[in-house]
Symmetry: C2
Subunit: 328 residues, 2 copies
């Protein structure tokens, strides 16, 4: 707990990524949704883990990746997410704290264990994510520290937590705190949020002005709005939020704010190794730009630079010195 | 347990490597022996972990790295090492089994936890290893499966286990089994074995014909023999073992066998990223060559190729397809 001013406080999954390379045949044989994310039961996760190849473990979690990267960019940030009191939880906490991210959510002392995401990377650099959320989806509204949220300029919410009932309540409470206390609310969409039964509540939250800044990709924009055409979907959404950021992979990104639309290309990358975390790093770079007073275009460009760094190696935590890369 | 013929069974530390990049200033400030390995108590390991930067976790352990790589080269291999029944133990076991390495040592069900090696990699690619051995040094002589050892062509022993009393007894018992049952005994040296109190017993074991194949580097040869000149040290050692392999980093490697000496250059490498595992991969490649009937020079060259692969990325487990690289 602290009373000093924070740039961003983010709420999201606390996961350790378990990353293995594979081929398309394995993805198909296992019936996995290539390029997407699916939730696994513990049993199915154990089965898939036994079938997949040798792996490396790198801390992950979408909003957690964004905060690790924002801290590496020099921002003052905090993360709220649920780990358990176990070895993977220790790894997750270490990796946050060692970057200077404030992370004070008390670990669970009973099962489930800290969550894992089994990530299979195919030779085309695409990642297929298989999440066993464990403790991560046990994040309770009572775990929120009102003063911490009130002290931030931006509250960032990870869409993956919008799906299950318990962590969704936690996000809803966080938005209520932010609306009273001042931070802008940023929300990163995920495909899982666009499923029926989740989409409606999110549309209602966005429609009622609960979100200031929305991050999504083309596909999520179509699914969230139910539109057939991207232009119509973006027109609908940009009318409902102050700032809309659309990441489009190799096609770059779009930004909408106060009636202004900006388009930027993707940053050049020598070789795409693993696209895990591209959206998370884009969000980190964009928010870092905004927190440091940059305009829409410049912030989009910073986002693209950061996304370019992360897809050139395995894992969703930066390896290069982001500060040097971006020079905010 | 199996009665089919194995190429190699190896006994060594079962560790998960925790790998972070750092700079020379951090190594110096922490008083770490740059480029070497030191054993840490749990307390000191926790302190160092808290001080070091964000990390990635990749299964490690010297002989375990060799077996993972030998399996990737297509050999039938087994590994004997002590993990605990915890998340890091699961990771270690998964990474072995998923490569087809037989690994049947029952995990400990009480503390200590599975061992870790905190590896700090400096910009020059050197690694400084800080091992918290945990369960790994609790490997008991009773854990050995005589039939498994008897079924192998080569028994490979990791020098790190020669230091502490309990696992040293385990290695001594393994040599006894091998001497009755037939496999050649390969021993990989480590600096820690050359310390007074350990060196004498090892020299005695080597002097009494307990070791057929010795892997070491220049420095270890000098320390083990107490000689001032490398040539004298190698003359002494090559008279005591059937095969002597000396790895020399960027200077390549030397091999001695039946009065024949062979020298080979290092394999060309674009950029040295992390030298962790260079010796382990050299040993794997060399043994793979011998197990497939290659001569001394060719086996050394296979060793150098494998070492070149491992130092071009982080971690001591191969990322490229070793089978394609080597084409045994």
């Amino acid at each position: 707990m602290t009373s000093s001013k924070l740039d961003i406080v983010a709420i999201g999954d606390a996961l350790v990524d378990v990353i293995a390379t594979t081929d398309d045949a394995f993805i198909e044989a296992q019936g996995l949704p290539k390029g997407a994310m699916q939730l696994l039961t513990t049993e199915r996760a154990d089965e898939l883990y036994a079938a997949m190849g040798p792996a490396r473990e790198i801390s992950g979690g979408s909003a957690a990746n964004s905060m690790a990267s924002a801290a590496a960019l020099g921002l003052d940030v905090a993360f709220v997410g649920q780990i358990s009191d176990d070895q993977l939880g220790d790894i997750f906490a270490h990796d946050m704290l060692s970057l200077g991210v404030r992370f004070e959510t008390p670990p669970l002392t009973a099962p489930p264990p800290t969550g894992r995401c089994l990530i299979l990377v195919t030779p085309d650099g695409q990642r297929t994510m298989n999440t066993c959320p464990g403790a991560s989806h046990q994040l309770r509204p009572e775990a929120l520290d009102e003063k911490l949220i009130a002290s931030a300029s931006v509250l960032m919410l990870e869409g993956y937590l919008w799906g299950p009932e318990l962590p969704r309540q936690t996000l809803v409470r966080a938005i209520k705190i932010a609306r009273q206390a001042g931070p802008k609310v940023a929300f990163t969409l995920s495909e899982s949020v666009c499923l029926p039964g989740r989409r409606e509540a999110l549309n209602e939250m966005i429609g009622s002005g609960g979100v200031d800044l929305l991050f999504l990709n083309d596909n999520e924009a179509l699914q969230l709005t139910g539109e057939q055409e991207l232009a119509a979907a973006l027109a609908t959404l940009s009318a409902k939020v102050e700032t809309l950021v659309v990441t489009r992979g190799a096609k770059g990104a779009l930004g909408y704010e106060n009636g202004i639309a900006v388009e930027i290309p993707a940053a050049p990358v020598e070789q795409v190794v693993d696209t895990t975390g591209a959206g998370d790093l884009f969000a980190a770079g964009f928010l870092a730009g905004r927190c440091r007073g940059r305009d829409l275009r410049c912030s989009l460009e910073i986002g693209a630079l950061c996304a370019g760094e992360i897809i050139s190696h395995f894992g969703a935590r930066p390896e290069k010195d982001l500060k040097k890369l971006v020079q905010l």
